[in-house]
Symmetry: C3
Subunit: 335 residues, 3 copies
């Protein structure tokens, strides 16, 4: 699939500086640009590559002041990163062919209801009383339990397991081998040191536009619902425990764990390998840096938190700096 | 399914204060109680909800002194949490219908032995020389290797992979996509910088009453067995390395990793995201708080440990407090 | 399968001290040695077991000075650990029977190309335009997407999901439920607080001799390739983000996460539960201790790093020691 620089400029509403008739057939990072590829410059850190890149075209900011003349044709736009993202999205739309139809062997319970244009891959199963919306793609080797509801235009990748009673909205993506609706870790300690299992009778509810990463796990509620609100993005290997609520448009990076009954606000950014304690809440727009441990309720919105136990990140960084100077400080004080 | 308050009180050996003929059809948390639901109060922190809750019945401690008159009928018991757990368990028993039978397509090796009342889901496979006990439920998409032994009354959820030679006792639960018996991470460094693979010839042995979480991994032993003793509860995404032994009735929370050849005692509680070094042992009844790193053998029983490297948690907390005061302390000392 | 001590000594080029005609049928750790088993002594810490072990034969260093006479026959070699590893490898070669053939039901796309001696397990699928080399073993329940290339002599365990466009070399092992080629976590924040999904159009390239652990996840590149170079060993539950490059013969222990676009050098050893920030590089032969967080580019080769943010491990240990003494130090200074 080939486009001219002019065609691309029109698509992303940019102006061309150079040869608009040049032909583009692929994408590249600016430092790896080759003839026939288009790239972009958003981070000033990479500006030096602009002048050396062999890419045929590079998307740049309209207000960029050039230090020398690049080899490439430029497409000038307001926001190069957004423009490039848009270009990738359009490319994906043009090139992806959505398959439909039910492959065999597969298992579809007699009373399951499926919408128009369903794709159901080989060796996948949909249990009793489940409902799947239209335009939804269920890859091979997916297990969907009983009384599950999945909305329209979702993509469920291979190996995903969705337990009974789970509810999933529209436009959701679930990556391979993620598990939705497994039992919460509920065990009541007994006098003799053994544990009694607390039945987990609730479910998981996932709203519209949610993305869940590979091998992530989201446990069902003991009672009620574990709730992932609209637009939430969850990365690979994340653990969401029973009865957690994650607010709209919050993003959670890989390998983070959220303990039971905790409520995370909306528009939060939680870094990778973060631990969040149980039965607390985190205010909207909180940013938690990677590997931190949030142990207490965060009431004030919009803070950046770091360290374990998490505190405002600036304090955490100060303490870390001080800690590095400590040997010298103590020597000086003792002398 | 409906019960009267009186029927429930009889089941959990409680006494009724209010309308014993009221009808109950569901469960709820005390703060979300609605007409027709039963709830419980165990944590005094939630007592204020007792007086506002619209639940039809609430289970409370017999010795609770009421500050005002609740709207709900009360059921008074010695231990509300245990009583409520029992109620959930009875409800699950009444409502769950255990399916039996071998679904098709599935694969059962000719020489595999299976007990009475087996359920084997679609697309599941049981390898050569394997033995499955009675009343065991193997969901769809489960892979059981060769010479595996699984006891009675187990539940194996979809996508679980059990490698050759694994031994699993009775009454075990293994959640979706967990992997049991994968090769230990054994590589001998060579003079030229490459690694030589050390064959992993041992297996995994899981005793009775063990629960294993979704996407957890338990590696086989290099020689001998990785051993998970009776009643152990392992949460989602936990890693148990080769030749580890976990003592009876120990619970390990999500995303914790235990390195090779380490021996954890019985009745321990290991928090989430904890790391345990290899070739050490941890005494019985040790509690390790979340995100800690245990780097050395713990000989004294019953300690609470925190931090990395883990020390008695009270010392860890003191150090943390001191660290927070450090900027001020140093200023004072320097002045 | 039985061998004499003499036969084993010949295989590992050792000399026998004791009864060379004794019969060996199994392996054991030195502390668990029993009649008929062979063991080894490499770590001086375990020397006391040498004199008590009931193993029939023990492999020891040729230069070991005995404190007393062991019960076992000794096989003296230059490097007992390597010799024992070799023995395990030979044993595995002798005893493992490699199955071949395509089991049913399974799915092999019409235009997929497969080499000699393929094993394809039940319920496994190989997508359109994919190519599998010779002597490769694909277990049951494996999903291989479209346009995937897998080399010769690989072993893919059950439940593995390999997304479209992935390239895997020869002699690779991928353990159960690992996911290769899932979308990178790419979301562009929008002015209204929602995220726009950045299409992930690249792939994953895995070179020869790589081993990947159970439930590990390796994301495809946004553009270009996420690259795992030859001889890399990746443990269970590791996360490798989009556009990461891992250098040859680097080993990464369980539950470690590497963020997007980071480049790890060759011959590095990364401990368990380590976090590595995005867009940085780590020099060759770097060792990172468990639970550390590497936040900045590491330029100097061959360092041992520890802590978060990671610094030379000796400094980290000193700071930790000082921190433990801090309460006393401050008391002394204040008095």
């Amino acid at each position: 699939m080939k486009f001219t620089v002019d065609q691309i400029a029109q698509l992303i509403q940019g102006t061309v500086d150079g040869d608009g008739s040049a032909s583009i057939s692929t994408f590249n990072k600016i430092e790896e640009g080759k003839t026939g590829s288009i790239s972009f410059l958003a981070n000033p850190k990479y500006e030096s590559y602009l002048y050396q890149s062999e890419a045929t075209a590079i998307i740049v900011a309209a207000d960029l002041v050039l230090k020398e003349k690049p080899l490439a044709t430029l497409i000038k736009v307001k926001d190069p990163y957004s423009a490039f993202t848009l270009l990738l999205q359009k490319y994906q739309e043009f090139t992806s062919v959505k398959e439909i139809g039910i492959q065999q062997p597969s298992y579809l319970a007699e009373d399951a209801k499926t919408g128009l244009n369903l794709y159901l891959g080989q060796f996948s199963s949909i249990g009793k009383g489940s409902t799947i919306g239209k335009d939804t793609y269920i890859a091979a080797h997916v297990t969907i339990g009983n009384k599950v509801s999945i909305g329209d235009n979702c993509v469920i990748y291979p190996g995903v397991v969705i337990y009974n009673d789970t509810v999933i909205g529209n436009n959701c993506t679930i990556h391979a081998n993620a598990v939705i609706g497994s039992d919460g870790f509920g065990f009541a300690p007994q006098a003799d040191g053994t544990f009694s299992t607390i039945p987990q009778l609730g479910n998981v509810v996932i709203e519209d536009g949610v993305s869940i990463g590979a091998n992530a796990t989201i446990d069902r509620a003991t009672m009620g619902s574990t709730l992932i609100k609209k637009g939430v993005k969850i990365d690979n290997l994340v653990q969401i425990a029973h009865n957690v609520e994650v607010g709209a448009n919050t993003a959670i990076a890989a390998q983070t764990g959220v303990s039971g009954s905790t409520k995370i606000g909306q528009n939060c950014l939680i870094g990778g390998q973060v631990g969040v304690a149980g039965h607390i809440s985190i205010a909207n727009k909180t940013i938690v840096t990677a590997q931190s441990g949030v142990t207490k309720t965060v009431r004030k919105e919009g803070q950046i938190l770091g360290g374990t136990p998490a505190s405002p990140n600036s304090e955490y960084l100060k303490r870390n700096a001080l800690l590095r100077q400590l040997p010298d400080l103590l020597k000086r004080l003792e002398s």
